[in-house]
Symmetry: D2
Subunit: 326 residues, 4 copies
């Protein structure tokens, strides 16, 4: 479904080439000072334009159409909309008969009997994440200034040296290809005790939202998959203070599904953009045979660059929900 | 919270040393033939006793107390209970003043103001997963015989050669230590079209449940974190048949959050059991200083062995929910 | 919260004098033919202008901004917005210090610490029901043409003779007063078997939505409160055909919380508009004493007239949810 | 579905003649002192035995099997079970071919394709309400001692004089018939500000739960259906103190869907027990014709007597949910 959260409930809508994309956020406490300018910083981080991102540029201007009065949230749903501009719908029939590999084109047709909006990926477009970023801004205000997010791209391709990222991306671009990456988000200052076992562990809620973000194929906390390669004596985090501080943080700040006050550490693996310019051999449902496909148009070579803030926003939303439940 | 699912709703309860653990499953279609014996196979896979598992053995006998009539499900909640036996409660005061590293002992105290049941981990005990395995059996019946689960442990410690797993575990046991692992679950025969974007992608629902399972610290689909190290041309799965079969399956059977009919491939990283017999230095809240802690009692050296069927069950539950929604 | 439904999920937002009111409807099956004109009939029934209704007239033009493509629903959220026009915000400070009797003015201030939007009732304005009516139109399309709604006002004041309703309303208007009424909705052609006991009986879902409609203070099914005055032999509905037709319909088409295929009969009591022009004695929080209050502006003398279609829409939404669950 | 509540989540199960009926309550705050004896008073009010109630008597002894430790709630699910005793299953085939008028017999068969448990009404039995009453006891502890419930039967048959109730019931019993009634519940001491518009008004949540109670066919708040017969000047409640006290309480303590601190007043209409001993003419699905049916066994002549505490419990549950959300 297109809403998430029991207390801080985020509802999104829109298609890439429809009239607008938007988000309505329910459960926002009344009295939070907010203005449209406060969305700028995070929206800019998501915006196209940097090396490795699509040249399509849009205003991405948020319009708050409900839930704000005299510069403060009212306790009623806060609704934020973004008008779609600069769409080149062109001809999408090709996507239907000859769907792009590793895109949702074919499954969407099957699921909705061909009635899905195929233009620009429709509801599967990364453009939908504008609403997620907007909700993340609100979530951060709920969490308060003592909660600090630090988000970095730790890998692109198989490279972990940040200084070489631009080069890796340029090589992929030259090859008419794309490249994946890993985003790591660290969150300081989170209260002890967030998380609602059994089913709503802090990890469950965060992962639920992260796997909603298009292109995420893996999520791990703390040492993540490395825990499998360790012994208990290497992985255990001994407590060293009355506040619960641990000597190490292999758990990434979550134990038994509950935050323990140490830094939350989450990583998400982002796949290489499936839209690539080089030729691919894939099934044509009209002709009934595998045929070469060349995807035209503007694409992100490395969507990880823009996904970072989306991932951070998703984590913020999950933490806001958990905080408001506590 | 302790219930999950909108249509196939699983509610669990119980503590390790309380009267019982149980599960009530709502949304089970009427008319499914079912008997208590059908739970045996999966419950046995979860049972203690093998090398690397705790010597505590219990009947683990499921009692169906509602929702079954004349050998068939009735459409009303199906409730299954397990009586707790063989509990040695002993003295748990020590856990309160000197909580075990990387266990929920301390966060649970903080969250519930010291009112949580600390005996045997209380509600955080792996024993709670009995209900999850029982629900998984029901979920598999809903999915039907055409859906096949194949679950394997692919890593223990840093070892991937299965023939050496027993040795790795024995070494950890001798060292009074524990060891982590990776469980991989493959599911064949899943319908095309399961998954409810934006927020309820197939990956989101599966990951939500997997991160409820104690000890899981990472979840990935298909190539998972490896996608970060690849180019689009290496990661894309080209379609080769009218049924949507793909030449490769880097996506693990899920594209755009929706199943594409190819094999679903999920991996979960399971941390080494935090209960280890060797001495640890951790904070004593009574004395106010870091002190040595020795954990007594029976522990699993490699909980991954027993977690495999729990992980498979969690995936089955998520797929049953998705199937009933479709 | 401002969303309702597990499968057919309606999310509403907006304030009377904000930028817009809107609704996003999730879970709409793909492939339903729909256009903005189809909303006209029901929106007109809700529109102001008749005798007994407020003279404020607005376009009430629905703008579909997502979820529609090529004249059909896509399976993605269907979002419909209404621009607010013709608002005379004026001075609402008076409402804060001297809140109107039987309005939400005072409770809203208390609940949201004075941050609620007070203009025109803010989020409590009947204008929010535009979204409900729009969702009702979509719900009716899901229910299909075999389901027929027949909605009537059966009482105004203590009068049950429809020919005298206009007179009763005019008398109230002349007295600078308002008057209440009863709306009865009958629904033919509903499938047998809708309703999800224990908690989601057909009556529970319908009543939940009806009591969301501002001004509704009572809901009854079939003979309703009259059942209290009868014996079982007078109230029982004997079945007379293989299709479950009953000789009488005291139950209003719902037995054991489940529809039985007979006509559904629901009545809702609508209170007299609390905004009346005659002077009232009520507490002034600024002065700290009970003082006369005269409410200015445009009011509905008999909101029942406009509420009828809202009540019908709420019932349609509940039935659509139940149908999609079945 | 068989669970209700977002924060205070009540899940029920069981059939009249199955092994047990039970309830699991999630979201109970930790640290509430509780013992099985505290359930006695309300369970006794629901128990059979008084004039007008069925002679079937059961222990109705609550067994708390999870969520309680050292005499206090733990924050984990609190599960309470009741063993079914004294069941006379006998032959229920007759119910299938010749279903009882105004019972769920026929709709249940249709809904669950004949797999429902028909014995004693199965999941539709009033016995399921044991769990509701138990949850109500917990809800009242959450609300605290300052919240006082006062519940009365205000009508039986068309009689409002309480001294004549016994006579009315005896007359119905002599006539092998049953009789309906009205239950009124008044709640003092409820905080101002409970209720979550738009969809989760205090009235919506209370009515949702009340219409889950078998036999309830009408729900009204404050003056209820009488509001339809009044003018605004007669129905408005003017505020007379800084605490929001009103001179009158036509609204029954809820304005705009939000509690206003005045006494909450709710009434529910309870239909006459459909099981009556006198002969009824109803359809026999085996013979294909309308035939006389005589229902044997033990029945409540006036289920209203036992329903009163169930209705009170349902209201307490709704208020606990609303309080924990606030």
């Amino acid at each position: 479904m297109n809403s998430w959260g029991d207390i801080f409930r985020v509802t999104i809508w829109g298609e890439s080439h429809g009239a607008q994309v938007g988000v309505s956020i329910d459960g926002v406490p009344a009295g939070i000072a907010l203005c449209e300018e406060e969305f700028t910083a995070d929206l800019d981080r998501r915006r196209a334009g940097a090396a490795g991102t699509t040249p399509r540029k849009e205003g991405d201007v948020p319009h708050i159409v409900s839930g704000l009065y005299n510069g403060h949230t009212t306790g009623s749903p806060l609704t934020i909309e973004f008008v779609n501009e600069n769409t080149r719908s062109g001809d999408y029939k090709n996507l239907i008969s000859h769907p792009r590999p590793s895109h949702a084109d074919w499954v969407a047709q099957k699921k909705w009997n061909g009635y899905n909006d195929p233009r620009g990926g429709g509801h599967f477009s990364g453009r939908i994440t504008l609403g997620l970023v907007a909700a993340g801004v609100v979530a951060k205000k709920i969490l308060g200034q003592s909660v600090e997010f630090s988000t970095e791209i730790t890998e692109i391709g198989s490279e972990r040296n940040k200084e070489k990222f631009a080069e890796i991306i340029e090589q992929a671009r030259m090859a008419q290809d794309s490249v994946g990456g890993v985003v790591e988000c660290r969150v300081k200052g989170v209260d002890v005790g967030l998380g609602e076992p059994f089913f709503d562990s802090a990890e469950s809620l965060i992962a639920h939202l992260l796997f909603s973000v298009p292109a995420v194929k893996g999520v791990e906390f703390g040492d993540g998959f490395e825990v499998a390669r360790k012994r208990g004596s290497q992985n255990n985090d001994c407590i060293i203070s009355a506040e619960g501080q641990t000597a190490t943080n292999h758990a990434g700040g979550i134990v038994g599904g509950i935050t323990n006050g140490n830094e939350i550490v989450v990583r998400a693996a982002v796949k290489p953009t499936p839209s690539i310019s080089c030729e691919q051999q894939t099934y044509n449902f009209e002709s009934g045979s595998v045929e070469p496909l060349v995807i035209k148009g503007r694409h992100d070579v490395c969507i990880t660059l823009r996904a970072a803030v989306v991932i951070e926003s998703a984590i913020a939303i999950a933490l806001a929900e958990l905080k408001l439940r506590a």
